[in-house]
Subunit: 152 residues, 2 copies
């Protein structure tokens, strides 16, 4: 529902009322989930353009493990949100906002995988878990991860 088109990976701190801060934690997790799909698509489209030269809906669908119809609907949402563009029967492209999001998501993904590996999680499990985890890692945690990995 945000009217702003910034798509920060984080959200405002918001000084918390007495004991209802548990509710705020859940709300935050829910809103993170709401943008997770956009983030996944943005990163994937960026990857496909980088490696294949183009991002076709069918390839996106196959990579995500969903039907092409689902992918196309989600791409429509990306367009509504100003993250992607496409003309009929042509491939999908990212707007500057979409590119920025993709870059941040990719960096975050790597950081999460690296941290998991650093604490002893096997590489393949780290890749799997990171796919779900990354959307819930705040900027603050990311900074801590970077520092921990010696990339302060």
């Amino acid at each position: 529902m945000p009217k702003s088109k910034t798509y920060k990976l984080d959200a405002e701190p918001a000084d918390l009322p007495p004991e209802a801060d548990q509710a705020h934690r859940f709300e935050k997790a829910r809103s993170a989930q709401a943008t997770a799909l956009l983030e996944d698509y943005a990163e994937l489209i960026s990857d496909l353009i980088g490696t294949e030269g183009e991002a076709r809906p069918t390839d996106i669908a196959r990579r995500l493990g969903v039907s092409h119809a689902t992918a196309i609907k989600s791409i429509a949402r990306l367009k509504r949100e100003g993250l992607a563009t496409s003309k009929l029967y042509r491939g999908v492209f990212l707007t500057p906002a979409g590119e920025m999001l993709a870059r941040r998501v990719r960096a975050r993904h790597r950081l999460v995988v690296d941290l998991l590996v650093a604490v002893g999680v096997p590489q393949d499990a780290a890749e799997v878990d990171a796919e779900g985890i990354e959307h819930h890692v705040s900027e603050e945690s990311l900074r801590a991860f970077a520092k921990f990995l010696g990339r302060a």
Copy 2:
């Protein structure tokens, strides 16, 4: 959609086809998301019963930051899935399966928070992030976390 009523926190390994394993990662993240709500409710109900002596829909709703109608609908889903019981206008209780789930979820939550803190994330940020992260941490990662924290 699972017919089994076990609710493992993990899922089967499944030997991966050629390069479609990216799709499998996304599918795993999606299925984790599907059980996240159940997990949150189970843990919260267990907490409320422990600290307040009972779990009332209104309290559940307030703690989760949703309307009571939403909470009641979700509780209905817990009942359908065999995790909770309740009689009309009486409180909510967990079945043995629900209790087990709650216990595992609570342990996992603590482990995730502790790991985040151990790598340098501030306590409050760790609590917030853990709420979203925990649902995507595999048993394998949990074991790594425990070992890293010196609780092998």
